[in-house]
């Protein structure tokens, strides 16, 4: 199986189960990022077009896993200006039409 590659600051790694995803920006640590991507990818896949539910699940899972107050935004187009904790920001594109912002504050 040919996994699409996910780029993080120049390095490449395989991302499981998604059609195509690409990091735009992240300052998370390696393990957290892997976990977050997995959560996002699985929940988006599970809820298909119900982005609100997917975002809720992502938020709750992340709260459970890495201490609370995570925020997740999933959508096809939006603008944002957020304040977030360092090493806890993930901004990625998924499936070719989704932008996902996940951060903690």
């Amino acid at each position: 199986m040919n996994y699409p590659l996910v780029r993080v600051r120049g390095e490449q790694r395989a991302c499981y189960g998604s059609d195509l995803s690409a990091y735009k920006h992240t300052d998370m640590k390696e393990e957290m990022r892997a976990e977050a991507v997995e959560v996002i990818v699985s929940s988006v896949e599970k809820f298909q077009n119900k982005y609100d539910l997917a975002a809720k699940v992502v938020k709750e899972t992340m709260d459970k896993k890495f201490a609370p107050n995570w925020h997740c935004i999933i959508g096809q187009g939006f603008g944002f200006e957020v304040m977030c904790e360092r090493n806890s920001l993930l901004y990625m594109f998924l499936n070719g039409n989704l932008a996902i912002l996940l951060f903690k504050f």
Binding site: L5, Q76, G77, F78, G79, E81, V82, E85, R86, F93
Partner: protein
Amino acid sequence: MAPKKVSKRHSTEVKPESLEKLRKGTDNGDGGSTWVEPTTVIVKPPDQLNLTEKELEQEFTRVLSAKDPVAPQNIVRFSFKERLYKLDPSVEQCAQHFEMEGNLLHRESEDGKRIVAEVEARKIAEQRAVEMAQMGAPETSTEFSGGESKKLRNQFNYSERACQTFNQPLRERATITEPPPSLTINCQVNQWEIFDAYVEDVERQKLLKERAASQQQAKKSVANKDDAEHDHDDGDMKEGAKDADIVHSAAMSRSLKIMERMVNQNTWDEIAQDYKYWDDQSDSFKEGEGTLLPLWKFWTEKVRRKHVTALCWNPEYNDLFAVGYGSYDFMKQGSGVICCFSLKNPSHPEYSFTTETGVMCLDFHPQHSSLLAVGCYDGTVMIFDIRNKLNKPIFYSTVKNGKHTDPVWQVSWQEEDLAKNLNFFSISSDGRVTLWTMSKSELQYTDVMELKLVGITHGPDDNSEETSLVGLAGGSCFDFHGSSEHLFVVGTEEGKIHKCSKAYNSQYLETYNGHYMSIYAVRWNKFHPRIFLTASADWTVKIWDHTQKQPLMSFDLGNAVGDAAWSPYSSSVFAAVTNDGKVHVFDLAENKHEPMCDQKVVRKSKLTHVVFNPKQPLLLVGDDRGGVLCLKLSPNLRKTEEVRSKEKAAASSGSAGADAARKPPAKKRAHEGEQGGAEEKVKSAADMEIERLEKILGLDENSAR
């Protein structure tokens, strides 16, 4: 019933009016005589029915029942039990119009009776107390008064006892922690931005893939290079890799080369300055002594643990020289390397080539300066064209075309033959001196000489028998005579020196005995046609006249002599290197017995080779760890005939211009004169050199004898 009540109420309300009247009456009157009994006046409301007596007497019978006519009869409620609406059968008939809680008690009731009894009992008790007080019984009065005082206790007559405790002061303590580090980020995203990001990503991945592919290719080509397999794909592969990316392109390598030289120029600036301008000032007052100034050291990682086996200056470019690396250790043979260094870049070789076995000797062609003849440990001879930069010789000998069976110890280019083919000689331990001719497609060989063993004690008749049985002598070095081109001397591993001619391939013209161990170097003097020197493992350097069987001079250097070389500028100067890391420079004109300079230039390694730069006062020495050191000769070590004659003239005229004569510019001019076009000057200088050497060696008398 109701109207009656109303009238009654009205009548009671009227009462104050009559009271007023009454008061008026009392006010007006002057005593109790005017008091009038109050009369009742019935005031009727204006809308009161006026009924006759008869009508009033009439009786109406009305039956009052407890039924409320207004109460709804048909209340329907939802019954949750049966899950349907149901008619509520009970109708609420009770209507409450007025309610008031009273505190009056009926006299006849139980409670009433009890309270009346209590009140009466108290009255009696009081009365009795009063009676007792009147009677004046003290005991009882006190008793009562006590009871009285208890009852009427002064509410202010008490002492309050309390104490104030110290109140703990409240203290508030709090700390404020640093908020976790945060950052603000803003962005806007929409479908076309996402699309752009993906397109970019795809392109980047494509680029990465290409780069990985090219890297792999490069790796492959490098691997090929390392294998030193001279297959034809090699060049093409490298070429392909070069085209693939800019970093490895030709243009880039050129600019990198320039950069490297600039960096080196900066790094080695001091050395370059020394090389150009510095001269040991102490030479001017130290007669008969000289020094060597170490300049650059040339070494690369590739040649770790290899011996420097050959050194050769390029005849065209005075800063370029080739170094051959191999091993003199029989047990530790490996691959060979040839590096061409430039003095301008001591950190990295300009060109480098690898060979399967150790390189043993090399020589640049004197006219075609890019051609490099190489002899290897396995007996192969090769010709590299360093312009090609390919790791592949343009010609090489194989078993089929007569390669040597033992290490090739020296190669030497010759003049072109009649057919204008380039040719060179090689000498090997297998006892052959071979002439190699480069034709268009291949390397042709001719055995010029077979080095037969010569016994000193044997007679001429049994000599031939012996040689055929024992085999051939191992040649280790040779040198061709400068002017009579057929003549050459050969040094052997047995310690014998043979004078040979190209014309007679079976016989030696002369055999010189004098060395007891392998001869490492034999060199004709650059000026004098009869003189040559030999360097041997038996610790000695000897100087010979080829017309005499005994050496003219012998110098014991106290260690195996790796190599020796005549200087190109003076007939009386030569240098030798020994295994203890020393360079010995002799100037026979100054001192016939002791070296002018005897300097240890390397710490632990053995020196293997030495070579003079043809133009500059530089000396290259190679050691057995792959290092090549460049040394500058101090002014005392590079005196030419011209300098000497000038000095002599200065000394005879008594002027103090000796110092000026030694300065490098004068010397440089002398060099130019020697090498340049001034024919007469060259001749005279050369003749003077020869004369001087003859005088030193006492050859006039010798030749006369």
